[in-house]
Symmetry: C2
Subunit: 205 residues, 2 copies
């Protein structure tokens, strides 16, 4: 495999990924509009409900969809951090390096805000938890998060490139230890340590 | 004040909140549809881009909007956990009790998935980090998260009611300690301890 390797699903140009990319614009634009907007929100709500109605009418049953979504690429298509099918995901694109680390860059907008102009601390935890999981995958042994410690050194800014990185540091029996960081302009904003246990929730079938 | 007190912004029937509620349906329906859907995703993408174009054309400048969004109710209108203006937020509705605790119930769907059929561990961390912040507000002294420890006891299920709770336990100078839990069916799935420092990022003006 050529390295650095892409560890998340590449968004596709058409299909559901294209619709999800448009949905991300809606999420952002609604927050940017706010209460003071002149936009006809009743009309917007009506249009969006009509699209949702149509999608729901044609969607598979939940159990069927759960089986489908855990086939093949599995989580990387639909997770809330990297998934091109999930409008909640920024999405973060992570690659694996030869030294065993994984990393990606992203810029976050208003939907991810905590303190004024800064990334929500819980969003940083979400990004880092997921990145540690991908780092475990890259290292070849994955597990369920048992404990996650997140340290906040300085606020991470919105609207500026952030780097998210992670690396598995040790395996002791079923205990996996993995670390990660969220940085801006070369300075760590948030660092994390995770303890994972090598087991997994079974895939639906 | 009557207790238990509502600690988050109540979604309004019309305006941007109604459009955001519709956007949440879109996010969920796109994930439910997946790749195997018969829906015309090119058409859906086109409709959503048209709505986004229209919203963006009428939106205030970012700096102006940042000042506006930090007036009044501030974060509770737009944050990614409880905000009725933020389609990423489930939204969680928290109330404060006389004993000093805050709590809310919610049911999460596919956008919040980590392991098959379960809540993403990072999403639990996001919900809990935010809830600890609201617990600090309810206790009367807020701060910035310095360290968050999240312990995962058992997977939290999607599609079932979950309870999220938090409580400030001590204040020592500027150090605030706050705990919280995410539970399902009366059993703790995830517990957390947070250390906060009593300071805040200034509001934009």
């Amino acid at each position: 495999m050529a390295r650095p390797a892409q560890l998340v699903s590449e968004p596709r140009d058409g299909g559901v990924d294209a619709a999800v990319a448009a949905a991300r614009r809606i999420v952002d634009a609604l927050l940017q509009a706010g209460e003071g907007t002149d936009a006809d929100m009743t009309g917007v709500a009506k249009q969006l409900h009509a699209v949702a109605d149509s999608l729901e009418d044609q969607a598979p049953a939940r159990e069927e969809r759960l089986v489908e979504m855990w086939r093949g690429d599995g989580i990387t298509r639909h997770d809330p951090v990297t998934g091109p099918e999930n409008a909640l995901a920024p999405p973060l694109r992570l690659t694996g390096d030869e030294d065993g680390s994984v990393a990606g860059t992203l810029t976050l907008g208003l939907p991810y805000q905590g303190p004024p102009g800064c990334v929500h601390g819980g969003v940083s935890a979400l990004l880092l938890d997921h990145t540690l999981g991908v780092a475990n995958h890259w290292a070849g042994l994955v597990g369920m998060t048992a404990e996650l410690t997140v340290r906040y050194h300085r606020p991470a800014p919105l609207f500026e490139p952030l780097t998210v990185s992670g690396r598995q540091v040790s395996v002791d029996g079923r205990k996996i230890r993995t670390i990660g960081a969220l940085s801006a302009g070369g300075r760590d904003c948030v660092t994390t340590e995770g303890l994972f246990i090598a087991k997994q929730v079974p895939r639906p079938r």
